[in-house]
């Protein structure tokens, strides 16, 4: 009897654990992997292909992080894809023909690019935190405006003939793994540390969970909200630079539609679009799933048109699962509480 009680305790603990919500996604990833592995004749899970998937998700993985900060904070950022394109273009120009005459080496170019994009984020952040305009509208506006700036900056032309130092961000390897994958990992570790360990991360969750309560509890809600957009802008810059490095050129329409993928990755990964909820590991798994869909279906020769359909359906199913799961675990916990 005591044993049984312990078991049910353990079960409740497991079910009510915040990580358990990701169980569905993890199962999906496993089942999908096995399925594609069999259909593709064993090439899906080869180390070569896994590297491919990771390289594939570098850009929108980082963009998903960029989105996750404002979303967990209870706002939204649609401008990340344009900021990403701006980042790629600025950085490429600075190491080739010059950004309004400014030419510099790779390292300085990256730093300046990050600052420029962080400023775009700061504009978003200022408007969102100091006015009552809906963040959706604010960032939709900046999405369009920044895309325009990208075209102006690059004068409607793609920036090509990048130096090797630039391309090596993607092609180069460190300890046998592409530099871009290392950067991806660093970004996720950075986010996991901030969201999981710091008081700042707690404040982000608190504001997203209940803005009024966070305010009355003495949290500087406006500054935190502002800063999430600055982080979002800076991360978008990194994504843009890596995207340019991978393709080998910066095109002004780069990253178009990537916001949608980032939203999907966050939603599938359990980030609540209402704010206050979401784990870094979930965002990573969500982005991974996005990459696996594209890659796996290419291996199975399924056309990209169908990939869109499946991606869309999956997003809805994933969110439905998360909600169903939440109600289940709530019920389990309240039942347990009642028994005590």
């Amino acid at each position: 009897m005591k044993n049984k009680k312990q078991n049910s305790d353990l079960l409740t603990k497991l079910i009510s654990s915040k990580y358990f919500e990701l169980s569905g996604l993890i199962c999906l990833i496993i089942v999908y992997s096995i399925f594609v592995q069999v259909r593709s004749g064993g090439s899906f899970l080869s180390s070569n292909n896994i590297t491919n998937i990771l390289k594939e998700i570098v850009v929108y993985g980082i963009l998903s992080c960029a989105l996750a900060f404002p979303v967990i904070n209870g706002t939204f950022d649609l401008s990340i894809e344009s900021t990403c394109a701006l980042g790629g273009t600025c950085c490429a120009l600075m190491v080739t023909k010059g950004l309004f005459g400014l030419k510099t080496n790779m390292v300085v170019a990256v730093l300046i690019t990050v600052v420029i994009c962080a400023c775009i984020g700061a504009v978003n952040g200022l408007i969102v935190s100091r006015t009552k305009i809906d963040p959706f509208i604010v960032t939709l506006g900046t999405q369009t405006a920044v895309r325009g700036i990208v075209y102006i900056v690059c004068d409607n032309q793609a920036v090509t003939s990048l130096p090797d130092s630039f391309k090596n961000l993607s092609a180069g390897k460190f300890l046998g793994i592409s530099v871009s994958i290392w950067i991806l990992a660093l970004v996720f570790i950075f986010m996991a540390l901030i969201m999981g360990k710091t008081s700042y991360g707690r404040e982000i969750y608190a504001i997203g969970g209940n803005y009024q309560a966070a305010f009355i509890s003495g949290i500087n809600v406006k500054n935190v909200r502002f800063s999430t957009y600055v982080i979002s802008g800076a991360l978008s810059a990194i994504a843009g630079i890596l995207s340019t490095a991978r393709v080998g050129s910066a095109t002004p329409n780069a990253a178009t539609g990537y916001t949608t993928i980032a939203i999907s990755a966050c939603a599938i990964g359990g980030v609540s679009l209402g704010g206050g909820k979401g784990l870094t590991i979930g965002v990573f798994l969500g982005a991974l799933m996005m990459g696996m869909i594209t890659n796996g279906m290419n291996l199975m020769f399924i056309s990209s048109n169908w990939q869109y359909v499946i991606r869309g359906a999956l997003m809805i199913i994933a969110v439905f699962y998360a909600q169903w799961f939440n109600s289940m675990s709530n019920r389990a916990v309240s039942k347990q509480a009642k028994e005590e």
């Binding site: 409740t12 009510s16 360990k197 710091t198 008081s199 700042y200 707690r202 404040e203 969750y205 608190a206 969970g209 209940n210 009024q212 309560a213 966070a214 305010f215 009355i216 509890s217 003495g218 949290i219 500087n220 206050g276 909820k277 709530n330 019920r331 916990v333 309240s334 039942k335 347990q336 509480a337 009642k338 005590e340």
Partner: protein, 495 residues
């Protein structure tokens, strides 16, 4: 027997193993006002939701007018002439009164709504119940009392035989309450049966014919209002004699710690008060008198003009952050909207105000954090399965204790409590009173805003009364009684 309009027999309801109602029965006569009482969680609302078709029962039978009725959805209840005026009014704010009343039942000509007819019909309906509002005006512009009247009109627009009110007088002023009483009596004269859910004894004695008391999801007893006293009802509610609800006062009052001089903003006018160390200062007044706004202005949530002296030094809290830093803490009136992050754990909520203090280099020190959290879980006796339990899963009383814990964790000198026992059951109330008394004994100065006069009389050392943003009176405990408080609360005359 034939005058019974409604019989509910053996109604049970369980939510996944939790029994909200256990074999509850209730009957209602034509033209009668039946009051339904009970502590929070006693099952009043659940029972009425079943009657209104919002929730299906797990067991039991309902007879309306002697015939067995099956109520599965709200529409079934409508067809049987049962309407409910909900506590939280559900109206479409940007539509007109007429549109709201007849929503879903518009008469159309070739697919277009016939507005002339609609407005006329609404006008007649409202005249019948004595409401004087424009049918084509938007609901948005009306206050709670008027919206309630609109809701009643909506109920009357159906062929009505039973109307249920869920805590209708809680948000109303005295005049508005009287108005509602009059309307309820009129409904009664018209032969309509009324069920009134209310916590307030005033309501019961003003309009009630009988009182049905529920306790822990079961029938506790029925009383005739004409033959019973408040004590009788309370005894049935809590199942025992009302014993010492308020703790014996043990606090000693020291020197003045806080002085507020001529504090004003949009909602309060020229408020001056002083608070001494270890004192419990009660603030009474009607809803909307500016009590909440006073606390918010002192704490720094809302901007204000005027002078605040803390230990003789002039200060100005411009944000809650500054307030906290200076040793203030606020327990807001609405814990769900302003006090708690419901989707997060007790632990996360508890340390919200002290994140900086328990972090080094920006990283939260988890052993400090759990230490503090466990300390307040024990000190405030929060009943939970552990510190990681989501606040949403806690009962109202325990949620309120988490808010208190969060405030206490910041080690305040001055604690501002806004309706600290709202929506909390009798047992938890007594515990909260004890906590408040203990805190004052430890030397914390406390300002308590409350709408429950017995509560203020039970725990305060001194009571201020507010009326329409002004301070209308200050009472020592010798002078204070429900009558004197009420006198100042309704008439703005300086003492």
């Amino acid at each position: 027997m034939s005058d019974l309009i409604l019989e509910m027999k053996d109604i049970s309801k369980s939510y996944g193993g939790v029994h909200a109602l256990k074999h509850v029965s209730l009957d209602l006569k034509k033209g009668e006002v039946l009051c339904l009482c009970g502590e929070n969680g006693a099952g009043k609302s659940t029972l009425m939701k079943i009657l209104a078709g919002v929730e299906p029962p797990s067991g039991g039978e309902i007879y309306v007018d002697g015939k067995k009725a099956i109520i599965q959805k709200p529409l079934d209840a409508f067809h049987l002439g049962i309407s409910m005026v909900h506590q939280e009014l559900v109206q479409i704010e940007d539509m007109s009164i007429a549109e709201n009343i007849y929503v879903g039942r518009y008469e159309t000509k070739a697919g277009f709504v016939n507005y002339k007819d609609l407005y006329q019909k609404t006008e007649e309906l409202m005249k019948k119940i004595g409401i004087d509002l424009k049918p084509d005006s938007l609901v948005r512009q009306y206050n709670v009392a008027n919206r309630q009247l609109i809701e009643i009109a909506k109920a009357m627009s159906h062929d009505l035989s039973i109307i249920v009110f869920d805590e209708p007088t809680a948000p109303l002023t005295i005049e508005e309450t009287d108005n509602l009483y009059r309307l309820i009596r009129k409904l009664k004269e018209d032969g309509i049966a009324v069920i009134l859910i209310s916590h307030r004894m005033e309501d019961i004695f003003a309009v009630g014919d009988r009182v049905e008391v529920l306790k822990d999801g079961e029938n506790s007893g029925v009383l005739n209002v004409a033959e019973c006293t408040t004590d009788d009802i309370v005894r049935l509610m809590i199942g025992r004699q009302m014993t010492q609800q308020f703790p014996e006062k043990t606090n000693t009052i020291g020197d003045t710690i806080l002085e507020v001089k001529h504090l004003s903003n949009d909602n309060i006018t020229d408020i001056s008060l002083s608070l001494r160390k270890g004192e419990i200062l009660g603030v009474a007044g009607l809803v909307g008198a500016g009590r909440t706004e006073l606390l918010r202005a002192i704490f720094g949530v809302d901007p204000s003009r005027g002078e605040i002296l803390l230990n003789g030094e002039p200060i100005k809290n411009k944000t809650p952050q500054q307030g906290l830093k200076r040793g203030f803490a606020l327990v807001p009136e609405d814990r769900k909207d302003q006090g708690l992050i419901l989707g997060q754990s007790i632990l996360q909520n508890m340390v919200l105000s002290i994140l900086n203090k328990i972090s080094s280099g920006g990283i939260v020190n988890s052993s400090k954090e759990t230490g503090i959290c466990e300390e307040y879980i024990q000190k405030l006796r929060i009943r939970c399965s552990g510190r990681n339990m989501l606040v949403r899963m806690l009962s109202g009383g325990n949620q309120q204790k988490v808010v208190l814990g969060k405030c206490l964790a910041s080690k305040p000198d001055i604690l501002l409590l806004d309706e600290p026992t709202r929506g909390v059951d009798v047992g938890a109330k007594a515990e909260i009173y004890k906590i408040i008394n203990n805190l004052a004994t430890e030397g914390i100065s406390i300002i308590v805003v409350s709408s429950e006069m017995t509560e203020l009389l039970g725990i305060s050392d001194r009571i201020l009364v507010m009326h329409e943003g002004h301070l209308s009176g200050e009472l020592s405990m010798e002078e204070a009684s429900e009558e004197t408080i009420m006198k100042y609360a309704i008439s703005h005359k300086s003492a």
